[in-house]
């Protein structure tokens, strides 16, 4: 079984991207993640999941963290045969995605739900591992998707 530690050992090189916190920069972040996924040889499903997760968290930082004001997002990535690990950092007000997630509520009609929290839920259910820290005034989220094709986000029964 591959662990994050194994992956870190395999991934000697890391990549860094720093972009302004704008909707326009989301494409650059996606391209960065897709490159890492390609380098790791991730399958289509795992590639989709890591892209979706990073995109949702980055979109949330732009829209709700910095509230479309000035700011920067730093994305670090490591890839290896075991998978891809991405760290997203921002200096917006402290926000723990695990606290802010909003799983689909069975009793609430979809049209009445907060889709923003649902985006975070999508992100967290798309990755194999997630951690959050707030250090030196920065939000630091770390997402890992392993190379194995496991469906972490099964459809509602």
């Amino acid at each position: 079984m591959t662990t994050v530690t194994d992956m870190a050992e395999l991934a000697r090189s890391s990549s860094l991207l720093e972009v302004p916190a704008t909707v326009g920069a989301l494409g650059d972040i996606a391209a960065f993640v897709l490159r890492l996924a390609g380098r790791a040889g991730l399958g289509k499903g795992a590639t989709y999941r890591i892209r979706l997760a990073v995109d949702e968290l980055a979109t949330n930082i732009v829209m709700h963290g910095y509230r479309c004001g000035d700011g920067r997002i730093t994305v670090r990535g490591r890839s290896g045969p075991g998978g891809v690990q991405i760290t997203i950092e921002d200096a917006a007000p402290a926000f723990d995605p695990v606290e802010g997630r909003l799983p689909p509520a069975p009793g609430v009609p979809p049209e009445d739900r907060r889709i923003g929290g649902l985006g975070i839920h999508l992100a967290l259910t798309s990755v194999d591992e997630f951690s959050y820290a707030h250090r030196d005034g920065r939000n630091i989220s770390t997402l890992t998707v392993k190379a194995e094709e496991t469906d972490r986000c099964p459809p509602r029964p």
């Binding site: 494409g27 996606a30 989709y48 999941r49 995109d55 979109t59 049209e111």
Partner: protein, 103 residues
């Protein structure tokens, strides 16, 4: 990454065809088209998504917006979505009010 959106009427169905990627950057184009489609007053709004290779929650928001804009008796169909896209729709529970169809 770009999204192309087209709008047409086929009988009593308003057809929106999407090609490309549906995310926070491109979803506003889809929103605008939904507003136009809602004004047509057909009994079905069919959203053809076979050409959509990626959809983020911004796309879900657009689908919710579509539900809010059309009359209660209007059926919204999403046709041809690839598996990860339809899974995202199901994860959000939107498949209870939107018809998901392969063709």
């Amino acid at each position: 990454m770009p999204l192309s959106v087209s709008l047409s009427i086929e009988g009593d169905t308003t057809v929106i065809e999407l090609t490309g990627e549906l995310d926070a950057k491109t979803a506003p184009d889809f929103h605008q088209t939904i507003e136009k489609a809602a004004g047509h007053g057909t009994s079905t709004v069919e959203i053809r998504m076979a050409g959509v290779g990626y959809m983020a929650s911004a796309g879900l928001r657009s689908l919710v917006f579509a539900q809010q804009k059309v009359a209660n008796n209007v059926t919204i169909k999403v046709v041809g979505a690839i598996e990860p896209v339809s899974r995202t729709i199901r994860t959000a529970g939107l498949d209870r009010s939107i018809v998901l169809s392969d063709e």
